[in-house]
Symmetry: C2
Subunit: 264 residues, 2 copies
């Protein structure tokens, strides 16, 4: 039974492309999945590139969708379909993809690497993605930004003064630590998907708060983190992807640039 | 090499108890780890039960801690130590523990079960833990509740009206879906750690908003979710644990009861 399943999966892994289902028109959380697939040169489809992409997403998260015999329904995109499998939640999709794409050391090489890389990924998404979204929507995601502008300004000031340095400082420490094996990449001396996630998070924060991040970068306290951002940007496949039409522009998603929320 | 590592791990898994490092005095995110260990009857130590527990946590998250040769430092508790391994982030710790504690189908039984259970876990923590924390701290975690009371009231009203039913509705759909195999547990017909997480999340939301959750439970739209809460509570080891001194009381953590934030 188990070996039949394994054989089936191996076949499907080879033969079936990955299907990313995510909102068209903004990078969002789907971007972390795209960057992993692009870095690995994997074959995939992306609903953001399809004409009716928005309806593909809406069908997945509709209240009528109860999933199927082996997959619970997703609550929100990004969603990954791969053969019979349908899974959601950004760090979960990356957890599934990374061993298949060579973006984490294999269990044979480094048994518990996946838990260390997953820890770094979850921390980057907490502090440099979720909290940044809340800067422009501190009260209710269902309301417009204009309906929570005063609160957004207070939240952003606190984020820039306290939270952003906390998380940049954390990743600087990770890069200074021995487990990074040299301080270029977060873990183990080679690029993992946690580096791609940190790149995309910092890229978004730079877009949202250009003055604050510009000042912080100049102060030089988190030099290794900004260096990692540049190093990911220069990966040949990432560079080509970022310059392509496939890279969605920042828009009304997680990372928004409202000049009044940035520092003076 | 690989088999030596595996043998080493097997030995350490048998011989070394799990060490949970978490703040004393409140259930918090550490509670998800405790419930998994308790349900499995595992042997573990808990800094919350130690006299200088707070210092054990502080040493781990101190700016001087750069981790060690194989472990990046943690950003925040809960932290799990197991032999040479140190990992953090609640869903990541559960991902590591669950196969060892029998709280997720093994890869041999159900190859991709871990990704489905991890999806459900991440979604419960997003919508029924992180967002609930933000109800009393919408502006800044570093400020007192009293300094953001007006915003907290607005956020809580939106949470009760929109977000809480959204997430309860999601888990009700999961329990109605075929992949739950009967609708008692979230996935596959047997208890997994996602059920323990959903229990603890709902337990906390019930504590924070007793009137809103009381009304919602009476309305009967999410009956299977409330039934799951009761079923976890009645698991023999969980029942014994909840009645013991080891169960921390809700306090000034994620789940706080401010009557003015609940509905009338």
């Amino acid at each position: 039974m188990a070996s039949t399943q394994a054989a089936k999966r191996q076949k499907s892994t080879k033969d079936v492309p990955y299907e990313l289902i995510y909102w068209p028109g903004l990078p969002g959380r789907g971007e972390h999945v795209r960057l992993a697939l692009e870095e690995a040169g994997a074959s995939y489809t992306d609903s953001a590139q399809q004409k009716d992409g928005i309806n593909v997403v809406l069908a997945q998260i509709a209240p009528q969708n109860l999933g199927d015999a082996s997959n619970p329904p997703p609550c929100a995109p990004p969603i990954l379909k791969h053969g019979d499998l349908t899974i959601s939640q950004t760090p979960n999709i990356l957890l599934y993809l990374a061993p298949r794409l060579g973006l984490v050391p294999s269990a044979e090489e480094d048994e518990d690497a996946i838990y260390k890389v997953n820890q770094l990924t979850l921390t980057a998404l907490d502090g440099l993605s979720n909290e940044v979204h809340d800067c422009h929507h501190p009260i209710a995601t269902g309301l417009y930004y204009e309906d929570q502008k005063t609160e957004a300004k207070r939240k952003s000031e606190d984020y820039i003064a306290n939270r952003l340095p906390k998380f940049l400082g954390y990743f600087e420490r990770v890069l200074q630590g021995e487990a990074s094996k040299g301080g270029k990449w977060l873990y183990g001396g080679n690029l993992t998907y946690a580096d791609l996630v940190l790149f995309q998070c910092l890229d978004g924060v730079k877009f949202a708060f250009p003055k604050a991040t510009g000042r912080i970068e100049k102060e030089g306290k988190f030099g290794k983190v900004f260096e990692l951002h540049r190093a990911v940007q220069e990966r040949p496949r990432i560079k080509e992807y970022l310059a392509s039409e496939k890279r969605q522009k920042y828009s009304l998603g997680i990372y928004r640039h409202y000049p009044e929320l940035d520092e003076e």
